[in-house]
Symmetry: C2
Subunit: 294 residues, 2 copies
């Protein structure tokens, strides 16, 4: 199958590589061409615009930064939909707005092509090891065609409903993480103040009803003051912003998510805070409580 | 060893039974004698007061309701410490105040006996199956003597530090659960409003970075509108109250915990809300958002 791939950041690069290794002919595009060099060396062809990718592909994957980027590369003047041939499919894997996914779906349909929203979870490691969770919204017929390609990138691939349902599911994912991270940080801060050994406390509580991926994976990083990004604060704030906007549009009040968003904005106030990992929420709580550890 | 056991509720009954089955001579006390009937039938001796338990035991376990109950059965006029013999050990397994644990420790020491705080997690099932997590505060020498008895009741037994450290660790446990439950409920409410199948959404996100014991165990109960208690709201509110009080005493601001506490108070406002399970937090969020499902 002729596959297009737009967005070759940390996630996209690994995902695209799996498609190449799967024997597919791949056309790639990135705003920064050098980000495609490794993929070109493995046999991918570079295209100068998203439109050029669309013209040469049956299925085009996009995984870019912000909803505005998604809009540009798919719906823009030189976007994928301007050239994608009849029967083609555009698959946006960016974490983006459910409402934008619906807009793309309608625009695609009007041009005789299909659209799927398919954000992922699992991070850079999941992308590298081809065991991403993929949350799919769109038509079953389109998903059926794309499924063999998804299976090269992920394991837990779920069709959640029509257009936007994949993005909505990703929002559920981010809402869970956001509020749980408050608990992780508050629990560890309490432990610190109470004089407990943080790793012992994590071991005591992490295997039971208080256990979560976040306490067991981010907790130990916080304990050793490692605030390097697995997932960057600025991207998480983008995601929470989408969730809050969509919640508001649905008439839904989510006070925990709103609190998490505000506390992560406090992390942004720190020097280079946006580039830190989500576990750096601890730094905002330490400021709040006048605890000076660094 | 001559063992005393005070408090034969759902948890205490199972735990006491393991001690009896372990071959120990057990003296039991409960305010309601009938709650001891099963244990008496298995060989336990009933004592009419905590003091009478203390007089006949080398080690006395307590697992009662509130800190005020702990105070009464251990420090009160007819409390365990009024009669416990030299070298005896009192082990409070109630989730109670770290500061009270320290007070008991000092009172015990003054009388030539020892005290350990050892709250548990794992719930009624963990108690029944003898795989509780036990978080221990107190002296190592006392713990050493009690360890064989703990091993009849639990698996993950950790000495967290001096008097109060077990209670502090349990507070970490409850802080993690409290705030995470907000995320669980908000995530599922978002999923509901977005038209997703709740169980599919849980399956899509529960195995990754958004995963937690709460979403994977309480989520499905919420999905089928099962609000029966594993752990009751009124007990959880007691625990959060202790955590908030201790945090304040340590000069610590924990906004997530405070929010959780307030939202659980809203569950208490529902009919018989205190007797529902902690997953009933969903009902407060539905009220908040004017969603009428029942």
């Amino acid at each position: 199958m002729r596959v297009g791939f737009i967005g070759t950041g940390i996630m996209g690069k690994s995902m695209c590589l799996h498609l190449l290794n799967g024997g597919h002919s791949v056309t790639v595009y990135s705003r920064t061409k050098s980000k495609c060099d490794d993929l070109i060396a493995k046999g991918a062809t570079y295209a100068p615009t998203p439109a050029a990718v669309g013209a040469n592909s049956d299925v085009v994957f996009t995984i870019v930064g912000y909803p505005s980027d998604v809009r540009q590369v798919i719906l823009g003047e030189n976007g994928v939909l301007s050239t994608l041939n009849d029967g083609g499919i555009v698959v946006d894997m960016t974490t983006s707005e459910p409402s934008l996914a619906k807009e793309i779906y309608a625009a695609a349909k009007a041009k005789g092509v299909s659209s799927i929203d398919a954000p992922v979870s699992g991070g850079d490691v999941g992308a590298k090891e081809a065991r991403l969770s993929i949350m799919v919204g769109g038509d079953a017929t389109a998903l059926e065609k794309v499924m063999p390609l998804f299976q090269l990138m992920g394991k837990n691939i779920r069709h959640m409903g029509g257009a936007g349902a994949g993005q909505h599911t990703k929002m559920v994912n981010q809402i869970l993480i956001a509020t749980n991270m408050i608990g992780v940080v508050e629990g560890l801060l309490y432990a610190y103040k109470a004089g407990l050994d943080l790793n012992e406390a994590i071991a005591a509580v992490g295997a039971g009803a208080a256990g979560s991926w976040s306490i067991n994976n981010m907790g130990p990083r916080i304990a050793k003051r490692d605030f390097n990004p697995g997932f960057m604060v600025e991207h998480f704030i983008k995601d929470m912003g989408i969730a809050l906007k969509e919640s508001q549009a649905m008439g839904l009040s989510l006070p925990g998510l709103a609190l998490a968003n505000q506390l992560y904005l406090a992390v942004m106030a720190q020097k280079d805070g946006g580039k830190l990992g989500t576990q750096a929420l601890m730094l905002a709580f330490e400021k709040l409580n006048c605890i000076d550890r660094d």
